[in-house]
């Protein structure tokens, strides 16, 4: 044992092992992603830029109940309602200060109608602060841009009412199915 240790020490064995590892790694594929050329697709359900959803007829779903604004931890949602012609509630302004938002998606969880969504879009840097202040039109536009069609419906099915699904457990809940099948 002792002699073995001395030999190891003199021959710098552990250093040679380390150097062999770095040399071996040199010939493996790099994990770097060349970002703007190879963009990274966000996973479904990513909490990115906000959007106000529309129903099938293209009308905004939001009714202006203000729950999202109440629950928002950073208080970045502002809603102003007014009375319409037939004495109904009309959402006059709906504004989100994106720079304040911390993307916890509590608003999505709070909304009883599924009117607000977080899209998978995450590249929205800009030079001016004003462009991050989303008003109603911009938010609705976001919906058309990033969530139109089936994507929006799918989003709400999977991420908007997760609790409701699981109070009564569905059959296809994910469980471990053995390591061999998914190698």
């Amino acid at each position: 044992m002792k002699a073995k240790d001395i030999i190891k020490r003199v021959l710098l064995l552990e250093i040679i092992q380390g150097m062999a590892l770095t040399l071996k790694t040199m010939f493996t594929k790099a994990v770097t992603r060349q970002y703007p050329e190879e963009p990274r697709a966000a996973m479904p359900g990513f909490r990115g830029l906000h959007a106000l959803s529309k129903d099938e007829e293209g009308v905004m779903k939001c009714v202006g109940c203000g729950l999202c604004a109440a629950v928002c931890p950073s208080q970045c949602i502002k809603i102003f309602t007014a009375q319409g012609l037939n004495h109904e509630k009309v959402v006059e302004r709906y504004e989100i200060d994106t720079l304040k938002c911390l993307f916890c998606a509590y608003c999505v969880e709070a909304c009883p109608y599924g009117a607000i969504a977080l899209t998978e879009h995450y590249e929205y840097s800009d030079y001016s602060k004003e462009s991050f202040y989303m008003d109603k039109d911009k938010l609705l536009e976001n919906w058309d841009k990033y969530m139109s069609g089936d994507k929006g419906n799918e989003y709400f099915k999977r991420f908007w009412k997760p609790m409701s699904i699981d109070f009564n457990t569905s059959e296809e809940q994910a469980v471990f199915k053995g390591w061999d099948n998914n190698k």
Binding site: V31, G45, E109, P112, L118, P162, Q173, A174, V175
Partner: protein, 398 residues
């Protein structure tokens, strides 16, 4: 004689290490008085990242205080969230369902791995082994992707909820997590090939920052920093929360209480975490992910909100005022986050907001002991000591 003493005194040099310094891991500031290269006095200054989390919590409902917890120890946000939820659940006296417990445990251990490999990378980088840093980031990225897959965010997750979790995991996630658990141990061996037996690493870490078991307890050390000194104290074992009772794992302890032992402890902990993750996946039961037994403290199911008047009112009240029927009392609840013991002392006055929320953060205690570890050693050892206590200033300053 006094003249000579004064002349000798002239040789001391005051170095301001931080708040901007490559090795202080954030905005920690150490004022070092050095004589040659030997540190004779060390004074840490913290508070550069103080955001008043405790004050903010007092003015928020239990639900909306949770995103603040993500931002305490931003390396291991999931563990903080779980710790917070466990604390509030203990206060409210509710119990999450089994499936949620297992998923939370799984997530906590993923966080532990991600935090420890980030620690390993930066610690090794401080000591000069820069390749370990990039290897560990390769795996950290993998865990981040898994987090994103399950909850849509990579760093500030806000995933658990009081009484359960936010959403269920997918089959795809479980499979890829199992794959990760299968492959990760070979990656640990890779890191160890580079540094574990390396003579320079051994010289830099053995016998540095030694602290005995009694002293470490007296200073209030927790987590791997304490276990490196040989104290077998792990909140997961002595006061199990979530599914830790139902999984089998060991708590590695060190012997000498030096930097190397703490490093070994963390490396072994990662292996144990992999073990726990595997068991969690294998044992994951079917069932609800949000407790149905405590309708007063959790949000009602979403499809009920628009059909049932009571549920609707409850939904509104829960979101705007918090759980109004919270019991009066105070509770201290601690969980084992990667850095140590994260404690929540919550005083409730029966309203929907905590009356007083106190956060006992491990980093704060560990930083306070830096002078004890550093005085008498060399400047290079200060770096090793900052690394070994695994400090995150967001948590330290709160």
């Amino acid at each position: 004689m006094t003249k000579t003493k004064d002349a000798l005194r002239q040789r001391e040099l005051t170095i301001n290490m931080g708040p901007q310094h490559p090795a202080t891991h954030g905005v920690l500031r150490l004022v070092l008085e050095i004589d040659g290269e030997t540190v004779i006095k060390c004074t840490p200054y913290v508070g550069y990242l103080h955001r008043g989390t405790e004050k903010l919590c007092e003015n928020r409902t239990y639900l909306s205080a949770m995103p603040l917890m993500d931002r305490l120890d931003y390396i291991s946000s999931m563990a903080n969230d779980v710790g917070y939820c466990v604390a509030v659940e203990r206060l409210l006296g509710i119990e999450p369902p089994e499936r949620a417990k297992f998923i939370r445990t799984m997530m906590c251990e993923m966080t532990r791995i991600s935090s420890h490999i980030l620690w390993l990378g930066t610690h090794a980088l401080d000591i000069g082994a820069m390749t370990v840093f990039l290897y560990s980031f390769r795996e950290r990225e993998w865990i981040m992707d898994l987090f994103e897959m399950v909850c849509g965010a990579r760093l500030t997750v806000s995933f658990p909820r009081i009484g359960g979790i936010r959403n269920d995991v997918s089959q795809e996630f479980l499979d890829s997590l199992y794959k990760f658990a299968e492959e990760f141990p070979s990656r640990i061996i890779e890191y160890e090939t580079l540094i574990d037996q390396n003579r320079i690493w051994l010289q830099r870490t053995k016998g540095i920052g030694v602290i005995s078991a009694e002293e470490a307890v007296n200073w209030g050390f927790t987590g791997p920093t304490l276990r490196g000194s040989g104290v077998d104290y792990d909140v997961r074992k002595y006061m199990p929360y979530d599914a830790y009772e139902q999984v089998d794992f060991d708590v590695p302890v060190g012997k000498e209480g030096d930097v190397y032992d703490r490093y070994r402890c963390r490396m072994e902990e990662m292996r144990q975490s992999v073990r726990i993750i595997k068991q969690c996946i294998e044992k994951l039961p079917k069932g609800p992910i949000m407790t149905p037994d405590a309708p007063k403290f959790t949000l009602p199911p979403k499809d009920k909100v628009l059909k049932d008047m009571e549920a609707m009112i409850h939904h509104f009240v829960m979101l705007t005022k918090g759980p109004l029927t919270a019991p009066v009392g105070e509770i201290y609840s601690s969980t084992e986050v990667p850095k140590g013991e994260l404690g929540f002392y919550i005083v409730s006055d029966g309203s929907g907001r905590p009356y007083r929320m106190r956060l006992r953060s491990p980093s704060f205690v560990h930083v306070s002991a830096l002078p004890r570890l550093c005085v008498g050693s060399l400047v290079a050892d200060v770096i090793a000591n900052i690394g070994t206590i695994d400090v995150v200033l967001g948590e330290c300053d709160r």
